[in-house]
Symmetry: D2
Amino acid sequence: MDWELFLSPYKQAVDELKIKLRGYREQYEMSNQHSPIEFVTARVKPVASILDKARRKNIALNELHTSMQDLAGIRVMCQFVDDIPTVIELIRNRQDMRLVEERDYIAETKESGYRSYHMVVEYPVQTIVGERKILVEIQIRTLAMNFWATIEHSLNYKYEGRLPTEVRDRLQRASEAAFLLDEEMSKIKGEIQEAQKHFALKKIEDHDLKRTKR
Amino acid sequence: MDWELFLSPYKQAVDELKIKLRGYREQYEMSNQHSPIEFVTARVKPVASILDKARRKNIALNELHTSMQDLAGIRVMCQFVDDIPTVIELIRNRQDMRLVEERDYIAETKESGYRSYHMVVEYPVQTIVGERKILVEIQIRTLAMNFWATIEHSLNYKYEGRLPTEVRDRLQRASEAAFLLDEEMSKIKGEIQEAQKHFALKKIEDHDLKRTKR
Amino acid sequence: MDWELFLSPYKQAVDELKIKLRGYREQYEMSNQHSPIEFVTARVKPVASILDKARRKNIALNELHTSMQDLAGIRVMCQFVDDIPTVIELIRNRQDMRLVEERDYIAETKESGYRSYHMVVEYPVQTIVGERKILVEIQIRTLAMNFWATIEHSLNYKYEGRLPTEVRDRLQRASEAAFLLDEEMSKIKGEIQEAQKHFALKKIEDHDLKRTKR
Amino acid sequence: MDWELFLSPYKQAVDELKIKLRGYREQYEMSNQHSPIEFVTARVKPVASILDKARRKNIALNELHTSMQDLAGIRVMCQFVDDIPTVIELIRNRQDMRLVEERDYIAETKESGYRSYHMVVEYPVQTIVGERKILVEIQIRTLAMNFWATIEHSLNYKYEGRLPTEVRDRLQRASEAAFLLDEEMSKIKGEIQEAQKHFALKKIEDHDLKRTKR
């Protein structure tokens, strides 16, 4: 199997969607509104992970295209918990993709403590041999949820999914700290939004803005 | 005053330093070690902010070059508090810049709650009219410190430095939540480092990695 | 008139199309075929040029959206003259835009000596206030045509469209040299294509390839 | 041999030098002068090519560091033949590298017809284990020389260095056409330079400029 060739439209899809979703941020800034999107990352699932997951979930390689929904992945990070519904609405309203599925792991936190909002969309890519429809998983989360998820992911890899009680407890406390930070941020949000309007108007230095524009 | 021309070597300096410091991250990953650097941002101070600060601090425009140390700014974000000394050491050991000053706002938190480690370096830029030595401020902080600092900066702009008591209190609680997250992360660090080695070895999907490579 | 806001969907359109057309190149390389696309550039027309052209062509500012077709511009550069029809076909076949107009300044060279193939397409952009349909001009040309066009454009600016006879003659000879280079390249094309397949297979160093991937 | 690790400082070197040399262009534009640099590309030699060349030139793998001067390669493209001496001077004057060798294949065209100016420099890279001095080859050439060189390189690969007479002749004619284009450009240069100053002042649309800034 020529993986580079197989994954090529997936790479094209995430490259396009990264530009498309990042564009929102500039539009909000330009109209002096708080942007619900802090930054956007994208990846195509590495071949090792694909093989691993296919084995674990018993997916035949010739069914990957329809049965593995996260070959192409986009992650949208938000400052505040209540930016998330705004991002969901933006995506639902797009005319250039079709919504396939939504999973709300914020309302229903996973047993592990994982929180994120997942959307699966079908996105058409124009290739040199015509249009190809690609499944893309979009994960929407706060910075704090993202921080925690990265760590949980690492630890699960280390322990191959069987976390010792002590690690599980530590992870739990970090999750609570992340949750608390989200809560405090929500309370302070009104103040910040007002401030950011001024901020934008004054065109003051902003490292973070630069980061997402590259 | 032709600001674009005046700031041009500063822009060149931050562009070069961004590439230089980001390079560390790849080197750590390549040797399967935890990278003390999560991501790096850079900016040249906007003209409006320069004028504002010059007025406030009574700096003449023809002395900006020597008296305003943060015209060129680099920010290095770390996952863990104890990554910070590692980054400081990396910068102290560089042969392509001269250390001018260090300020430790982590050991001595600012009254406002601000925490970060600041280094000012003198960095030579080769221009079309010869070498120019440029002051650059490098701020080193954790993700949580950075999150808080961004918010505090916005609020200070809104209230022009005179925060109402209520806002100050909310900001304080957010700062504590950020601090707590840093603490929990420190405790979990050993586990994560081990995990990240495996992580790196297995070349598993990593959005965050991709983000800093662009 | 808030130009930054007005031009914002045009900027988004060219950012998206740049990624989309560049993607073709990688697809051709991946399948070891000669890429008809060498590189792709994009720009939004600068405000000074818009005002200039609006005055010259008597276009009202509230009609820019429909009457100025090159506010958003994409340029596709090809190695060989006969790569151009291949690119035209790729664009005609896309499902994510609507072809509005084509102008063939290669079959019918402009009096000035200008050669290029122009396509105007209507491209939908998803903004924070819903879908917007944007006109985009796509210019397709060889490297030699592009080299000449850049120079002619500069000279026209200098002389405000009224070139002295001597300059016009020099420009003519440069145009002939560019045309001759295109001719020689066409003759050598078969050889090169064969060679490039080997080239790709051997995954040999290729600066030019890297250039377009950024 | 861990090639990724071995080549890592070379990759860092070319990343830094690309930013450094591209910076010149913006500086010239900012001061409304013709830029002698049109664009800059960079590459680390692919492993297959390294092995190939090591075998051909009888270089031991543990001597690559000192005996293969083009592991790290930078290419600077110029519009005009007489931009080349200006670029050479800029590089000779830099304080952040040491000139090791120069080879002038423009004054002394290679038998094959290859024209380019080569400089080999020793460039210090700061790594996580301290400073490393790296050899970098910088090739300086016009757009027309570059076009021809790309083709010659491809054809040599196809025929493994043994070009049939017919191919050699075609290549020769293409080389003459490229040379002629350079000649015509040289004659028109004065006009163009004047025009480009106006061009820059009016801040008129410039695709090519955007290309190198990414």
